[in-house]
Symmetry: C2
Subunit: 191 residues, 2 copies
DNA sequence: TATTTAATTAACCATCGTTCAATTAACTTG
DNA sequence: CAAGTTAATTGAACGATGGTTAATTAAATA
């Protein structure tokens, strides 16, 4: 009744995740169907259920990758040999760059609101924020209070959110991002 | 075949809009059905189509009201008898208060990404931003540049966005909002 | 009473998540 | 290399839900 595809390469979890991530970002969780994902991959929708139990599990697999990617990005900046003030600048800029380079990751992590999804995400976002906050605090030699760091985060978040929504790349807004970071650092000097 | 309801009060465009606004904010455009709106109103879904051509038209009617509401909020603050620096503080705080008090408006205006919707919205958001930017510029006696004002907006936007997503009211986060505004004003002093 | 207005409900067609029997490509074993 | 086995894929089918339309009818109005 159904011929199996002559596979050049078999469908893998990774291939599905990679295709689905961009699509989820573009359309949102509810507005992207398993059938659309399958169509993008040129496979039947049934094939997806061989690799993932259901839509939620596929989505969760993506989110999990996303959070560890931000962690890695921050770690990489922190491990460089630079002055603390320069490191701080790069952490802030790095956060924006992460958000706009991996828009789909960022949106899934910090923007999507959906009850079915919130259950999965758990404390992923707060864990990522803690990492960011601790980095900023130590780089400022403990001069910045919790509230200030939180304001800083929200200010960066606004930048990323806006340009995520506008579908613009980091390269396109780089100079504006640098300005934004300078603007925020200026305020921090006078804490 | 179908008995008409013994109406205590007839369904009106306004009643539909008022009920739908909150629901759209809560669930998003795609995830809210005409049937759900009707159920909330205790009417049949067909009744909605007597008052609105379709779902998009209903949504558009809401958005149109939203933009003018933000304009009014800003106008009201600007017309008060206060020092410019205090007015500036209140404009920033007022923007946050607007966003969190009228979450549904704000989300529809600045957060929802949806092709079907973007067509309607046109230049509503940019018009609202222009109003905000001009107010800030004049209140700072033209000391703030375009880029700085834009950064300021994005920083406020991040605050509103975050707490919109978290479903928190303005009252709940008021002191944090005040801190955020102070944080931003501090940076402005040293432009 | 005749007409208009405002509502109801059934029905149509599309899409979705998910399941599952059928099918076959690829691999294993003798 | 043949036969059997496993793994991967297909597509039909099920039950929900959705937007929208149209026939119908009750209430209000003239």
């Amino acid at each position: 009744m159904a011929p199996r595809k002559a596979v050049a390469q078999e469908l893998t979890r990774e291939a599905i995740i990679d295709a689905a991530r961009g699509l989820f970002q573009e359309k949102g969780y509810q507005n992207l169907s398993m059938r659309q994902i399958a169509q993008t991959l040129q496979y039947s929708h049934g094939a997806l259920y061989y690799h993932f139990k259901n839509k939620a599990e596929l989505f969760y697999a993506i989110v999990k990758q996303d959070f560890s990617l931000l962690d890695d990005t921050l770690d990489q900046i922190l491990s460089r040999q630079l002055e603390p003030s320069e490191k701080l600048r790069r952490v802030l800029l790095g956060f924006i760059e992460f958000g706009l380079t991996h828009r789909s990751h960022y949106e899934i992590m910090f923007l999507i609101r959906d009850k079915e999804i919130q259950e999965f995400v758990d404390d992923g976002p707060s864990h990522s924020y803690e990492k960011f906050a601790k980095a900023v605090q130590s780089l400022s030699k403990n001069r910045l209070g919790i509230q200030t760091i939180w304001s800083l985060f929200l200010a960066l978040h606004g930048f990323v959110t806006h340009y995520c929504r506008n579908q613009q790349s980091y390269e396109e807004v780089r100079s504006m991002a640098e300005y934004h970071v300078e603007f925020l650092l200026k305020g921090l000097l006078h804490e």
